[in-house]
């Protein structure tokens, strides 16, 4: 458990980044070759290789077994689910052509598309779906993701194109859960132990691509799957190089050894604009990410049980300042835990404005004033002072510093403590031994956030660790789970977000943008990005022959 001198570390980080930026900018005065040919329009054609960078190596490619994001990034090019999200983040069929919900809302019947095949030519049928369901719910499967699927009371495959699941009671998040389960081939896995099958390193799927070569620790290459269930992709090969360090990735991008990576805000907003040689050959994109950062109060501790104190802190924090300072403007303030622009996000809601006077007034109402004139507010002799706990993450650490400064201005004494992730979870979150945390949650595509906000979810290891308890919200969350009609659900979750904002159990700080940079040789990318991000039509991306990288020029 380390306690660091925050300001010093902050200054050092800033100094180093500035130094590096200056040097990179300074070095940039060189060959600005004519890149006009990159901006011409070319007809769409098949072929070529796209090289990108992965920060970590997947441990295997069965997504339900491997927790890492790199595993799902690769596996989602190889495997299909029954359903998927389209470019506007609405559910649509992937392996399923259509689905019906029974009138009592308990049974969902999926109708698979006809003539589906695995990459090895074997037919893909509802038997495979049933097998996958049995695998993920099997007690011997070492997967943390079984919970959603264990709610299925019975599953059956009446014919080869139909898969039917029945729940004990209506369960609205079910549809989303079927968009997250990669269907596995029964004929290859039925005699295998899913926990350590070689299949995870040598998978056979049904999506656009199949694994070509996996060089341990170095790269994963995919090639097109001729038996794809979703139509042919344009680009022949996808190569993902494993480069853990972001700076090294950036150098590889500059040297044209990789085609795409996701930038950080300094690279996006400081280095790129000052380097015409980079902007000439590399296109920058901006898509809203899938998570938001918040300041969460331990509602079981005083004084955070008082809504006025929570609202006061919300008013005292300047969210735009954090977005400008930490993300260099590349983020959005949010007022609900849903992605702005999707149907679940309530357009009426506005974040708390920055208003220190209102904050002071609210605190006074709650009994906090500077009685002993030491510059810190107090109540009953107790100073208003607490510790913000966060994990090792640059954005969060920097946000905490800005929050600390704003709260100091209205007389709240804040200390910051940064701990390593596993320690953070086991020592503080699970035990509830914290006052305020600075963390992130996903901006759910599925609106159900029962696990995070329902009062029944407070046991150690569950996700309502801040101890939020509002009977009205509990009712809405329960109702939202039972309602499968999207319009009715929308009303429920709009009302839920409104109460949540008013109650202020967390202060929404920001939702950051994802900042992919892709070489201009790759064509067919949607700009600006739709809500689902630029990747939604990656199978339509193409690399015109004259722009392709010379096969052995990767030196």
């Amino acid at each position: 458990m380390q306690q660091k001198p925050k300001t010093l570390k902050f200054l050092l980080t800033a100094l180093f980044s500035t130094l590096l930026t200056t040097i990179l900018i300074g070095c940039g005065q060189q060959k600005t070759e004519d890149a006009g040919y990159l901006n011409k329009t070319y007809p769409s054609e098949a072929g070529g290789t796209l090289v990108d960078a992965l920060s970590g190596e997947p441990s295997g490619l069965i997504a339900m077994m491997a927790g890492e994001s790199s595993a799902s990034a690769i596996a989602s090019n190889i495997f299909n689910s029954l359903l998927k999200y389209d470019k506007n983040l609405e559910l649509t069929g992937e392996l399923a052509q259509s689905w019906d919900v029974s009138s009592d809302q308990k049974t969902i019947t999926f109708h698979l598309k006809p003539n589906l095949k695995w990459a090895d030519g074997q037919p893909l049928t509802s038997e495979d779906v049933l097998f996958t369901w049995k695998t993920v719910t099997d007690d011997k499967t070492r997967s943390p993701y079984g919970a959603d699927y264990k709610l299925v009371k019975s599953a059956e495959a009446p014919d080869s194109n139909t898969f039917k699941v029945t729940y004990a009671q209506p369960y609205a998040p079910a549809l989303d859960s079927w968009s997250g389960l990669h269907i596995l081939p029964k004929h290859l896995l039925k005699d295998q132990d899913i926990n350590n099958t070689p299949f995870s390193r040598n998978p056979v799927g049904s999506h656009y691509y199949q694994l070509d070569q996996w060089k341990k620790g170095e790269s994963l290459s995919l090639k097109r799957n001729p038996n794809t269930t979703q139509g042919q992709a344009k680009i022949d090969h996808l190569v993902s190089r494993i480069i853990p360090d972001r700076a090294a990735q950036f150098l590889e991008l500059m040297a044209d050894n990789i085609d795409s990576m996701s930038l950080n805000s300094i690279q996006y907003a400081r280095i790129f604009p000052s380097r015409p040689d980079l902007t000439a050959k590399i296109a920058q994109y901006k898509e809203l990410g899938n998570s938001y950062t918040y300041l969460g109060f331990n509602l079981k501790h005083r004084p955070f049980d008082d809504v006025r104190v929570r609202q006061a802190i919300n008013y005292a924090i300047d969210k735009q300042e954090i977005i400008d300072g930490v993300l260099l403007g590349l983020g959005l303030p949010v007022a609900s835990p849903y992605k702005p622009g999707t149907r679940w996000s309530n357009p009426k809601l506005q974040p708390y404005p920055y208003d220190p006077h209102k904050a002071i007034a609210l605190l006074k109402e709650a009994g906090f004033e500077d009685h002993d004139h030491d510059g810190i507010l107090d109540r009953d002799g107790q100073p208003l002072s607490f510790e913000i706990l966060t994990n090792q993450n640059k954005e969060r650490e920097m946000s905490a510093v800005l929050v600390q400064r704003r709260l100091k201005e209205i007389g709240i004494d804040v200390k910051i403590r940064v701990v390593e992730w596993a320690t953070f979870i086991s020592r503080f979150i699970k035990t509830g031994d914290f006052n305020v945390v600075l963390l992130g949650w996903g901006l759910g595509l599925e609106p159900d956030q029962f696990n995070i906000w329902h009062s029944s979810q407070q046991a150690p290891g569950q996700f309502n660790f801040i101890g939020y308890n509002n009977p009205k919200v509990d009712k809405l969350l329960e109702a939202g789970r039972l309602e499968l009609n999207p319009d009715k659900r929308m009303k429920i979750y709009h009302e839920f977000s409104e109460i949540l904002l008013e109650d202020s159990p967390v202060v929404y700080l920001f939702a950051g943008y994802g900042l992919p940079a892709i070489h201009k040789r790759v064509k067919g990318i949607d700009d600006p990005a739709p809500p689902a991000g630029i990747g939604h039509n990656s199978y339509e991306w193409y690399i015109p022959t004259p722009l392709r990288r010379n096969e052995m020029s990767a030196e």
Binding site: F16, L20, C27, V51, E57, S59, G60, I62, M65, G67, D139, R142, P144, Y145, G146, A147, D148, S177, N195, N196, P198, S200, R201, N202, K215, K216, G217, E218, S219, R241, I242, I243, P244, D245, A247, A248, L251, E252, M254, A255, N257, E420, W421, A422, T423, I425, S426, R427, K430, G442, Q449, N451, A459, P460, G461, Q462, F463, M552, A554, E555
Partner: protein, 339 residues
Amino acid sequence: MLKYLLNRLFWMVPLLVGISLISFLIMHLAPGDITATEASFNPKTSEESRQKLRELYNLDKPVIVQYGLWLKRMSTLDFGHSFASHQSPVFWQETDKDGNVTKGMIQEALPITLLINVLSLSLIIAIALPLGVISALTQNKLPDRSITIFVFIGFAIPSFWLALMLMYWTGVSHNWLPISGLHSLGAEKLSSLAQILDTLKHLTLPILISGLTGLAGISLFVRNGMLDVLHQDYITTARAKGLPENTVVYKHALRNALLPLITIFGLSIPGLIGGSVIAESIFAIPGMGKLFYDAVLMRDFPVIMGILTIGSALTLVGNLLADLAYAWADPRVRKGVAQ
């Protein structure tokens, strides 16, 4: 002599058990286990499934029982399977009933780390020895001063920063060397000679960087050892006999000054299997340092214990080898041992 050797080897066993017990306990002092790191903050996961995992991995049992289970496995040299990496064998490859081979994690990470460390150690010795001798011979004069300043800069400069600058200079500004990784894309299509050349090109910067940071230690060690010896009576005697200065320095002085280096090399044997996390991350090299670091962050206990056990065994072996080599090189020690 044989008795001495057997005695030393025998005592290694309780020592290793003691080291592993302490490592095991310290490892468990850090809060959290694999269920706190793997998908722990994904609301789609549930506490029940995490509890199930804990039971499958025996993490719900008392630490000392877990240690017993580990020791029992280790007694048959079974290093176990990783928690975080899809049940990969920790140490060496395994073949399942269908003949599929799954490589061990240490088996895959070790060769590249060994190669880099052996090459950079050779580089260090090749440069540090002459530097140290020159320093000693020109004590407090300009060459000595500049060498000392140079090796200290090499020691003090943040290696990640230097690495990035060199990568930029040799990889982006000039297309001299590859930036990261071990092989170029499509390198398998090249002839085997070109492939070796390709790998060497990839290894140039990592070896250079780790060599530069290691220079200071050895060169100062040689310098001080030389200075010590040069003031000994037998050197004065050699000079008084009228021996040529070269013979005095390289035959009489240097050989004696190099004796303590044996100890250093003995101690650097376990270091050969330990990689640098920073260099490996920046250069995207899948070596031992990254393996160990990731295992610690993920609380992947079998992998942590596997690497620690091999490391401590090598430390003990290295110590023994150093002592034996010392006895071989120095008659004074040999006699002391025999008595």
